[in-house]
Amino acid sequence: MKHVWYVLTRVGFYVLAAFFATMFAVPMIWLLTAPFSARANLGVQLPDPFTLQNFANVFANTFAVRALFQNSVIQSAGTMLVVVLVATLAAYALSRAPIRGRDALSYGLVLFSSIVTGTAAMVPLFLMIFNVGLIDTHTGVILVLTGGLLPAAIFIMRDFVDSIPRSYEESALVAGASPFGMFRDIALPIVRPGMMVVGIWTFVNVWGGFFVPFILLRSPEKMPASVAIYSFYTEGGTPIITLTTAYALLYTLPVLALYLFVNWKYGFRFFGGIKS
């Protein structure tokens, strides 16, 4: 009896697991099959007839191509660089300097950051960016996105810096390094995996973001891919599935490539060296 019950619970568990796995897998499989089909619909099916014409049509749309390979890259990479640089320096300072209320500061910033890029702040943000003359510029978009992502990035980074024993830095100082030399030679390379995590996280966030560039940019030739994908909708507002999926597939590739590259080149691992 006990044995039968065991088998039944195992079977039940696998059925349930398979159900949830399917829920997640089907849209991805669809994204891989639909772009290669001449007559794609919302169902998952083998491409029939198989074609690459969809991609040819996508590349013929210069507006969408520039959005993906130029504007999205500028905005994502730009924000990534600023966020990683500022977050690393800020997190290092917050972690190492004995500042009163630094925990409250970190938590408070994270709490408020959800407001910065949220709908509520959009009107004041728009006015602010308008007044400094950065409407319809990549710089404006990068600044606003940086403001929104920075608190969470500092929070993640600080947790990372906190976990690094101070004796690394102290041994560099005693060895004769200046504070700046110590930061450059020792602290920075050791927190690099954390910078990678924050960098990818920022990149992905901006890459998929729609609202901020949509509001702050005016001219079509500066729009990122998330906005440009609407150029594959009919005038009636329905998506042309073959083209949107082909564009969407291209849209996911850079993020995937970035992740694989960073993982191969640097790795997200954290290396030892402290004996405890």
């Binding site: 102290e170 060895a175 004769g176 030399g181």
Partner: protein
């Protein structure tokens, strides 16, 4: 090589006095151990010396120069950390060479000097590896190599052996002592292990609650502990300390009394009825009866090979003897432990040694 001097050095963290009015000197080439329980301020003293903490009061001189407020890099020191703190992203070559690199020594010369040091520590085959790829003992040596490579004036050691296993620790201890003699560099060494301090140091400074309670040669500290704290801290097993009251002819303790006969001179300032502490080291106790003996139920008998530890219960005390030879009393029997009055340490009501 340099003379180091601490003058009335204090370090306060808020209301806590981690180091409290500490003064001492380390002569050129001398090896001094700071010994004490955790939280006694010994590591803070070392960090003040390294410049990793700023003193609250007092001055620190190294080689005659006032280094009280100098930055770590101006002090020309080499330090071995408890956790080694090897840079994980650098090879062993770059780790050892780092102090040379920040001093602007060109790469070629750096490699030469590092190889030379590594060879003398028989670890020149590891230079291309990273810290995570070598053993704990090798990491420890790397850390020592990094501390000596630039020929500093002073070595600082922060419990460098505490992360090694017992066998390796003894080996590394001999190695450190030999190396320090060979290089003749003034050294300050922090440890909570009394055996380590005794074995290594020219002088041991015993610290308690931020103060140095005794600073002397290891054997002097061992044979003439200045108070009950030092008596109890040095030696393994520690000195047997018994509370007694003095009544002229006898020391009266709970469940025993001993004649005061030979101690007249030491007791001249002691009043009748004073509470004193009487101490005997385990190795000065032997099995047997006499005027000077303590008796009680055997509590535990622990053969260690060359010697055995015999503990007996005397009222509330556990008195431990270190017995050489293989004739041991029966467990749970009545056992007498005798000693010579010459080996008795006496401490007054305030815990200070009576001489």
């Amino acid at each position: 090589m340099a003379h180091v001097s601490f003058r009335s050095v204090s370090k306060h963290f808020g209301n806590v006095r981690a180091v409290d009015d500490v003064s001492f000197d380390i002569d050129d080439g001398e090896f001094v151990c700071l010994l004490g329980p955790s939280g006694c301020g010994k590591t803070t003293t070392l960090r003040l010396m390294a410049g990793l903490e700023q003193v609250t009061h007092g001055t620190i001189h190294i080689a005659g120069k006032d280094m009280t407020t100098a930055k770590p890099k101006e002090r020309d020191i080499g330090m071995v950390f408890q956790d080694y703190a090897l840079f994980p992203h650098m090879t062993i070559l770059d780790n050892i060479g780092y102090p040379l690199k920040v001093r602007g020594v060109p790469a070629e010369k750096r490699r030469e000097r590092v190889t030379e040091v590594a060879r003398s520590l028989s670890m020149d085959h590891l230079l291309d590896r990273r810290p995570a790829q070598i053993s704990g003992g090798q990491q420890q040596r790397t850390s020592v190599a990094r501390a000596v490579v630039h020929k500093p004036q002073v070595f600082l050691f922060d419990e460098p052996l505490s992360n090694l296993d017992a066998k390796l620790r003894l080996e590394a201890r001999s190695f450190l002592k030999h190396l320090q003699r060979e290089l003749g560099v003034t050294s300050l060494y922090v440890t909570h292990d009394q055996a380590e301090a005794m074995a290594l140091a020219d002088k041991v400074a015993v610290m308690d609650a931020g103060k140095i309670v005794q600073l002397d040669h290891p054997l002097s500290v061992y044979h003439k502990p200045t108070n009950t704290f030092v008596a109890n801290f040095l030696g393994s097993p520690p000195m047997n300390l018994l509370q007694v009251s003095f009544d002229g002819d006898l020391f009266k303790g709970e469940g025993f009394s001993l004649p005061t006969g030979p101690f007249e001179k030491r007791l001249q300032d002691v009043a009748h009825g004073d509470r004193l502490t009487l101490g005997v080291r385990p190795e000065h106790l032997r099995l047997g009866n006499g005027t000077w003996s303590l008796g009680g139920q055997a509590y535990a008998i622990e053969p260690l090979g060359p010697e055995s530890l015999v503990s007996i219960r005397v009222a509330d005390y556990l008195v431990t003897a270190r017995i050489f030879g293989d004739e041991l009393p029966a467990v749970e029997g009545h056992t007498e432990l005798a000693f010579e009055p010459a080996h008795v340490h006496l401490f007054g009501t305030d815990g200070l040694r009576l001489d």
